[in-house]
């Protein structure tokens, strides 16, 4: 029996007589249930702006970063709550838990709120940049500061 490419890691029977392996069908069902039905996983997000040692922006504990990977497809729902900025204006970036297939690959949407009162917002379709994605707002690239938050909703193909 030739095994197909196992993108999602679902176990398959190895015996040529499938009736001999009911246990493997249980394993298949359990794997499918886990992959498709389980809760998302948490990853460690980073928010970067500027350069040097201070480029990593401190995030509040209300930050959450959730991801589900099904084979070559990644679903990501993340909220980055800025605790303190770096004081360096410039393009803001965040890490991807799984690399995109290519740079400039459209990944999904990002919503940036400057100040908790939705005083200055922006909504963009974001593209990959190596293993990072840009989250800077078009309405300016001034330094992020406490009260700002960035929301991501991405769905993309991964090379990982």
């Amino acid at each position: 029996m030739t095994l197909y490419t196992q993108y999602a890691g679902i176990p398959v029977p190895e015996s040529t007589d499938i009736a001999d392996e009911p246990f493997t069908l249980q394993q298949m069902a359990a794997a499918i249930d886990d992959i498709w039905g389980g809760a998302f996983d948490t990853y460690t997000p980073q928010l970067i702006q500027g350069a040097g040692a201070t480029k990593y922006i401190t995030l509040n504990s209300t930050t959450f970063a959730r991801v589900k990977k099904v084979g070559k497809t990644v679903y990501l729902q993340t909220r980055l709550d800025v605790s303190a900025g770096t004081g360096s204006a410039g393009e803001a970036l965040t890490n991807l838990p799984y690399p995109a297939v290519s740079t400039d690959e459209p990944l999904g949407t990002v919503f940036c709120a400057r100040g908790g009162a939705f005083s200055v917002n922006n909504w963009n379709i974001q593209t990959a940049k190596s293993n990072l994605v840009t989250v800077g707002c078009n309405n300016g690239v001034s330094s992020l500061s406490s009260g700002d938050f960035i929301l991501l909703l991405l769905c993309y193909e991964t090379s990982g």
Partner: protein, 169 residues
């Protein structure tokens, strides 16, 4: 075998060799359960509010979701037939909610003001705070739909729509 079986898949049992359930039937049951993931979506009943106007009359053109375990996809298009309150925050309730605190981005869509006519594109957020509802946010630096951008009262002929996905509680 330990499993939570979130998707309620019909696992073939170790002893499924009796006449009541053959191995072939067990495989077919599992295949059918998996195939159901690609089935028709489920209807949902949304409620539209704007400021003091609650449960604004509307025609539900589209309102449905597909949920696979913790992952929910949704789409919605509502034609307003009633009247809202000018400068009131627009919220939609009646959907399953995510578990995270604060705001989460759950999709994109917009609002069409038929009186102008103008379409306002909008990211759609879930607010698990005091609002506990879905809100349509402005994408151009003007806060939230209803209370900021698009401050007219909802009127017959207006449209509110969107689609997206998120992890649910």
């Amino acid at each position: 075998m330990a499993t939570t079986n979130v998707l309620a898949l019909r696992f073939p049992k170790d002893s499924d060799t009796s006449a009541s359930k053959t191995f072939e039937t067990a495989v077919a049951d599992l295949a059918n359960d998996i195939d159901a993931f690609a089935g028709a979506w489920t209807t949902i009943t949304p409620t539209v509010n704007q400021g003091a106007s609650t449960n604004i009359a509307k025609t539900v053109n589209i309102a449905r979701h597909r949920t696979i375990g913790k992952w929910l996809e949704w789409e919605m298009q509502l034609s307003i037939t009633g009247t809202g309150t000018a400068s009131g925050l627009i919220t939609v309730t009646g959907f399953p909610a995510p578990k995270n605190a604060g705001y989460s981005l759950i999709g994109q869509g917009g609002i069409r003001d038929t009186s102008v006519p103008t379409k306002f594109s909008s990211p759609i957020l879930y607010d698990s705070g005091s609002t506990t509802a879905w809100i349509w946010a402005a994408s151009d630096g003007n806060g939230k739909m209803g209370s900021s951008r698009f401050t007219a009262a909802f009127a017959s002929g207006d449209l509110i729509y969107g689609s997206g996905w998120y992890e649910i509680a």
